[in-house]
Amino acid sequence: MQMKSHFELFGLPRAFAVEADALERSYREIQSRVHPDRFAHAGDAERRASLQWTTRVNEAYRILKDPVQRARHLLELHGVDVAFETNTAMPAEFLTQQMELRESLEEAVEARNSGNLDTLRKDLGKAREALERQIGHAIDTKKDYAGAAGLVRKLQFLDKLDTEIDAAYETIE
């Protein structure tokens, strides 16, 4: 069965704003019909088809749940490549801000201060939410896909910092 986008797979409109409950319900509804556990006693052919579908559904769900991946997929559908790998140019102001955040991260690790990491994570969470709102506005309202791509790259930066905070907690522990 051909599906043009991950949104169609779950019967959702192509939009950055996704109703999390609707996505989850749809995901579970589909999984309850195609999951390998339903076919453990079936023949090879059905088990193979089930494995393929479940893999595809899991991957689509992962992409739609994650704001960066969801935006990237959506922009691709509109013919815009986010180009994480090749386009690393960022506004100077944003980069300075990132440098500062990373410095405070390093300081927190050196001081073995998990309280500071908590604060950092909270601030990062707020910054991410603000960016996600902007992305939603750019894609869903203004249809400014090229502009949205720049915002998505910023969000990707913040996600990386989030991973580094995880690593920092582990170092401290």
């Binding site: 019909r33 052919a45 088809a49 992962r62 582990e170």
Partner: protein, 620 residues
């Protein structure tokens, strides 16, 4: 006649007897088998009424083996040939095996996985585990009076690909149709969740004899979803015994011990540990073959202080799992305690402090995993009607990736990805005219390949000569519902494809498994042909029933001609089933599988359409 019946729309598929299915907890210290009887999961006891089977195998001259209590009773007498805690060696090399220096065994370093030299020959951990599983299979078949249609075997959630594959091989070797490898904390969550109608986010803290798992699950009606898992596959109750053992050696100022004395003292150390669960002090006395007498008393305070680092070692993975799940302790509704080692009061205390709530101990920590596995086996065997079953969504515990330039790891499927999972990534050649590309598959979280576990190496050959960077090699990872990986690579720019698929196998090739299977049947004086025939019949019957019920529901997806082809394949298989030629049955099964391939794909598409249609109606 049957085929005429099923062509009637609205007819229900033919009724069948419940298929015999069991759940097996293959533990480090004890193993057990359970099944669902009249809707209730029960552990199946041995002839003496004992549900637990000590996971101990003693090899005797001539190739015979004693398993369980008999082996346990003789372990100090014959330590070299009596294998305890073999689970710790599954999928591991000699240098990975913790305490190898304290082990009495005669290790043989084999590629991929260590082996142990015994009086009955060199044994792989897979064979030792199969000997344990075989006893449980025979116990179940005797008790249920029939050939098992399938078994669910549990594994620690933190087991890597090598350890999982080894466990599945052991199941096959023991003559089991392994329906699924199920993560132990997930099995416990099924048993706990269904028994208590639990909803919300729960943590399962599972400290067994040799492994530690922490899983965070979201339970809601009919769905068990693992959000994150972490652990340590080399940490368990055994390590607490070791600490007590070392303490005793130091206190009693003992000289280096013989293998027998070592085992004798270890057994005493374990007894002292268990005694401390209910008492403030435990005697630790032993008479050694050297004439040395150990006469010590271990109090709770000392025990806690010598094992404190072990308790702490479990808390790191707990915090990590919470972070991976994006949750705080305040989000956790309950902490389910599993595994015999959670009986230790200091564990209960530490977990209670971390989660700021009393842990849940209302399940038998020794049995809950097997009971959950039995419930899942019952579902997988198709014994539960749709609507009464549940959906289980589990994850891989460790990231999977490949080695890139400079010995670095490139992650392809990150940890905590829901399985089944598949992902592909493109790589390119770095030399002009390069015609081959080595692919090294690894598992782990570290940046450097040397810090991760190596799963497989293979080479993609036959890439057409091109300029550096022009070739496009697509490496695809597929993880199935057991958490097992297969990898394929393909170069496709030139149209001339080079492709290879590997399943990491850790020194046990399929041919090895076949050979061991043959040997084991000879030893057991089992009739291999009769067994193969019984298995093929079960398999054939299963496939016919599955095809019938598929046709009953979705016959409209087929043209009359297509239906006739399937009907013919069913008929030829049905005709062969009562016969005695297991190879012919196997061929007919394969033919029916081929005949239903398109039908299966269409049914799956239809399922998704119905799911979406249901959603739309539901949301109106």
């Amino acid at each position: 006649m049957a085929l005429l019946q099923i062509s009637e729309p609205g007819m229900s598929p033919p009724l069948h007897q419940a298929r015999l299915a069991v759940g097996i907890d293959l533990g480090t210290t004890n193993s057990l088998v359970a099944t669902v009887r009249s809707g209730v999961p029960v552990a199946l006891p041995d002839a003496h009424g004992r549900p637990l089977l000590p996971s101990i195998v003693r090899y005797l001259p001539g190739g015979r083996a004693e398993v369980g209590y008999a082996a346990q009773a003789r372990q100090a007498e014959d330590p070299k040939n009596t294998i305890v805690s073999v689970k710790r060696f599954m999928g591991r090399g000699v240098k990975d095996a913790a305490h190898a220096e304290n082990s009495p065994y005669d290790f043989v370093d084999a590629p991929g996985m260590l082996q142990i030299r015994t009086v009955a020959g060199v044994k792989s951990p897979v064979e030792v585990s199969a000997d344990i599983l075989r006893v449980l299979r025979e116990r179940a078949e005797l008790s249920l009076q029939g050939t098992l249609a399938g078994a669910v075997i549990t594994v620690p959630a933190y087991f890597d690909d090598a350890q999982r594959q080894a466990t599945k091989d052991a199941g096959r070797l023991a003559g089991l149709n392994v329906l699924r490898l199920l993560n132990e904390p997930t099995a416990a969550a099924i048993a706990y969740g269904l028994e208590n109608a639990a909803e919300g986010i729960y943590a399962v803290y599972d400290l067994g004899g040799g492994t530690f798992d922490i899983s965070i699950l979201k339970l809601s009606k009919g769905v068990f979803e693992v959000v994150a898992t972490s652990g340590d596959s080399m940490l368990g109750g055994d390590d607490f015994d070791q600490r007590v053992f070392c303490w005793a050696v130091e206190q009693a100022k003992l000289p280096p011990l013989s293998a027998r004395d070592m085992r004798r003292l270890l057994v005493k150390a374990r007894e002292a540990k268990e005694h401390l669960t209910l008492h403030g002090e435990a005697p630790l006395t032993a008479k050694l073959s050297t004439g040395d007498v150990v006469d010590l008393a271990l109090d709770t305070e000392t025990f806690c202080s010598i094992t404190q680092t072990l308790v702490q070692k479990t808390l790191g993975p707990v915090r990590k799992a919470l972070r991976d799940a994006g949750l705080g302790v305040e989000d956790i509704k309950g902490v389910v305690m599993v595994g015999g080692a959670t009986r230790m009061p200091q564990i209960q205390r530490a977990v209670g402090e971390l989660f700021r709530r009393d842990p849940l101990n209302n399940l038998d920590p020794d049995k809950v995993v097997a009971l959950g596995a039995a419930m899942q086996a019952n579902v997988l065997a198709g014994n539960k009607p749709q609507g009464e079953d549940w959906l289980l969504l589990d994850v891989i515990p460790l990231s999977l990736g490949i080695e890139t330039m400079g010995g670095l790891t490139e992650k392809i499927i990150p940890r905590n990805t829901t399985i089944p999972a598949g992902r592909a990534q493109e790589f390119t050649t770095f030399k002009d005219g390069q015609t081959g590309m080595g692919i090294h598959v690894v598992q782990g979280e570290r940046e450097l390949v040397s810090d991760c576990r190596s799963l497989a190496r293979f080479e993609l050959k036959g890439i057409p000569p091109m300029a550096a960077g022009a070739a496009r090699v697509r490496v695809s990872f597929q993880v199935d519902a057991d958490g097992l990986l297969s990898v394929s690579a393909k170069e496709s720019t030139s149209g001339a494809e080079a492709s290879v698929t590997v399943k990491p196998s850790y020194g046990l090739a399929d041919a090895d498994v076949e050979r061991m299977l043959r040997d084991s049947f000879e030893h057991a004086r089992d009739d291999m042909h009769a067994r193969a025939l019984a298995e093929q019949r079960v398999d054939g019957q299963r496939l016919i029933e599955a095809t019938w019920s598929a046709l009953a529901v979705d016959e409209k997806l087929l043209s009359a001609d297509e239906r006739a082809v399937i009907a013919k394949a069913v008929a030829s298989l049905e005709k062969l089933l009562p016969g005695t030629d297991h190879r012919a049955i196997k061929q007919a099964v394969e033919a029916l599988n081929r005949a239903t391939e398109d039908f299966a794909a269409r049914r799956m598409d239809e399922g998704i359409k119905r799911a979406l249609a249901g959603r739309k109606i539901g949301s109106l």
